[in-house]
């Protein structure tokens, strides 16, 4: 009988249909609506930036694999580099020049991922490492936001102008350069104007349709959250990290805003601004860099949210999701060390249970 001798013939003999590329592609599919919406809001430059960021991430991964003497295609097809590049692109200012996307994408998959050994071995979320690197190295380009101009509107740049903006050849007109809500609030507070005055009548209020300045992942917060809910329903991610991270931001925001609404932004602004939703559903939930027990994930999520709030409110930067996630990535091995599941038949300390107690049950 021609038995298959090549495979190690041990149980289990059937496997679930799940695979890494299937997980990654599902994640990407849920990002599509938010991304398309972003393209519509910010036009051609945003599309070009997205393309170059994703390509750079793929190129960085392929180059490292080649240098290591591996075949690039099988690893690239797992989709993880695509996810990294895509998430990075969603966190950039939509009209940033091409080299921001190119440098960021390359940095993400080479220095933040492949040097650690590739998928599964990186300590920090590659997209967030790249974003923080860009923010620290090129603070000007990384903090210039534009007011949304739907691609169908008259003021929106056409294909040609869009390409020129993308290539950095024409400066952005001052009229459309803008600040994000978090940035504006921080600047106004530092100038001594309280929020009750600065936000009234300004264009910086929360808009549920996304008509506000920010990255692709910020303005489409509701679509991002919807995508995240689909991932939850498909059990690609568990609720623990998103819910606890949102709680970590919302609880301090509610308390502080109730105490002094003139100094502290309201909870809705916090949750729908910056990378809160993208972070809660797509960044902090990164399997590789988050704890692997449910209890650990709750601690991780709460800390991510709380740190985000602290950095936003009292830190030097208006937005803190990336920093918060990176700090908690560093804490993940510690969390995993101390928060382990209880083994059946043992107590939390690992000692066997008392048979007399179990015998007396029911």
């Amino acid at each position: 009988m021609n038995l298959n001798q090549l495979q190690p013939p041990t149980a289990p003999h059937s496997l679930s249909a799940n695979s890494v590329s299937r997980i990654m592609l599902t994640v990407l599919a849920t990002l599509v609506p938010a991304t398309i919406f972003g393209f519509w809001l910010y036009g051609w430059p945003a599309l070009f930036l997205w393309i170059i960021t994703v390509l750079a991430a793929l190129l960085g991964e392929a180059a490292c694999l080649k240098l290591a003497g591996n075949k690039a295609l099988p690893t690239l097809s797992d989709g993880s580099a695509l996810v990294t590049g895509w998430l990075l692109a969603l966190s950039l200012p939509p009209w940033a020049p091409w080299w921001i996307g190119a440098v960021g994408g390359l940095f993400a998959t080479t220095l933040a991922k492949q040097v650690f050994g590739g998928l599964g071995y990186n300590l920090f979320n590659p997209a967030m490492v790249a974003r923080v690197f860009l923010l620290i190295s090129f603070p000007v380009q990384m903090t210039v936001w534009i007011a949304p101009m739907p691609i169908t509107s008259a003021a929106a740049p056409g294909f040609h102008d869009g390409l020129l903006i993308f290539l950095g050849n024409i400066p952005k007109p001052d009229a459309i350069a803008s600040a994000s809500l978090l940035g504006f609030a921080k600047t106004e507070l530092s100038r001594g104007t309280d929020l009750l005055h600065s936000l009234v009548g300004s264009a910086y209020g929360i808009s549920l349709t996304g008509a506000r300045a920010g990255s692709l992942g910020e303005t489409a917060s509701l679509l991002i959250a919807a995508g995240g809910l689909v991932l939850l329903a498909l059990r690609i991610i568990a609720w623990h990290i998103p819910v606890s991270m949102i709680a970590g931001i919302a609880i301090p925001a509610l308390v502080a805003n109730a105490i002094d609404p003139a100094r502290y932004l309201d909870v809705t602004s916090h949750l729908l601004s910056g990378g809160a939703m993208l972070g809660a559903f797509y960044i902090a939930t990164d399997y590789v860099t988050s704890p692997n027990t449910k209890a650990g994930q709750v601690v991780f999520g709460l800390a991510c949210g709380f740190l985000t709030y602290v950095i936003r409110t009292w830190g030097g930067y208006p937005e803190g999701v990336a920093f918060a996630v990176l700090v908690m990535n560093a804490c993940t091995p510690v969390i995993d060390r101390y928060l382990k599941p209880r083994i059946l038949g043992r107590n939390w300390r690992g000692a066997p249970l008392d048979p007399a107690v179990e015998r007396a049950k029911s």
Binding site: I23, A233, P341
Partner: protein, 506 residues
Amino acid sequence: MGLIEKFLHNPKAPRWGVHPDDHKRPAADAPLRTLPLPARLYVPLLQHVGQPARPVVLVGQEVRKGQLIAEPQGRISAPVHAPTSGRIVAIGEITAPHPSGLPFEAITIETDGHDRAVEADVPADPFTLAPAEVTALISAAGVVGLGGATFPSSVKLALGKRSEITTLIVNGGECEPYLSCDDRVMRDRAADVIDGVRLMLHCTGAREALVGIEDNKPEAIAAMRRAATRFPEIKVRPVPARYPMGSDRQLIETLTGKEVPSDCRAADVGVIVNNVSTANAVHRAVRLGEPLIERIVTINGGAVWQPGNILAPIGTLAADLLAFAGLKSEPARLVMGGPMMGAVLPHARVPIVKGSAGILAFNEDEVAIPEAGPCIRCGNCVQACPIGLLPLEMAANVRVGDLQAAASLGLSDCISCGCCAYICPSHIPLVQYFSHAKGELWAQERDKLRMEATRKLAAERAVRLEREAAEKAEAAARRKAERDAAKRAEAAAKAAAESAVTEVAE
């Protein structure tokens, strides 16, 4: 599973485990068929946990159906009986039903086709007998646990008597995909199973019996409920279909809420678990005087033409069963048992034993296992592990050779159920990692014991040599002292004699 079903997921379903596609139908719905007697049966001497049985027949001897052909030896062992009448043609090595394909002691019987049975002596009412007497009947019939562990049933029942069992759990979970032999036993022989359960209650002294049946077997649940109506002490309890529900610790927790401590047996918490097929075998042994010589085997898998359940004598070759069910294509892999924990058969010329629930012939598509990728720490294995272990962390430790670290994470609690490897999106063969590590740790432990024994012997030898040297020195000193004393005495005597001589001379 569709999106809506995922939202409506049974909230009572346990958090552990996996829900593989069960592939039980149409095999489970096909009526039970009986295999025509094969020309030869190969009855292994070790079909149970414990010591192998010792042959009590000679080559060339004629035997009858149900005749004892090998007797138990040792405290944990089980006898083996002739599955049909015929002539013993060989007692010796055949291929074992194990992936190693190593040789294995067995008795080969050439069947005569008459199926003549030995006279059976059955008690009129076993419930008037003492529990120990009924247990002795079960022991003599060679009944072993048919859920897969093949632990001699009588030993387990006697243990139950000693440990003050309150609850007998009857395992009709059959959580392994593809298998349906227990389902078939419950559907076709529900009254017999319930009678076996009553006999086991009598043997153990337990007050109640809980029959746990996965809710994907509604026909079996209905049949068992009907059969159990007259016996209020026997309760049929559907349990959620979730692998590994048929594992004893999981079933005990689901049905009674009791958690078996990791260093204890189920009996230590007042529970004993027996399979429904075992209950059926107990009924046949006690009521009909028929030893365990046949069983229902599920023949299933993509390569099988007519999947279903077949009643076959112990010792039938897998090849005979597959030929009877018919093959659509050359099997890409043969498995004895279920797909989650079953063992690969080296070839089909391997006999079925008491514990063989199924022979699965998989086609190429079913065994296409993708190449393993890197661990992405998704934690699916942590969620799936029914024991609460961290398979990903244990595997990472085993991978770098740090077996002690893996052991400290609870490797010894792993039941090798395969949930982690099943669910892993990177297709990492986690169970293999753990089996390797367990084997290695066991070997290390044995080496350590051996070293300790050697060291102890060496230390004892040193002590002995020292003692002998001391004794020798002491003896030498004593002899010297004696010699000196003798010399002194001689000298004194001489001196005395000399002085006497002098005196005389004076």
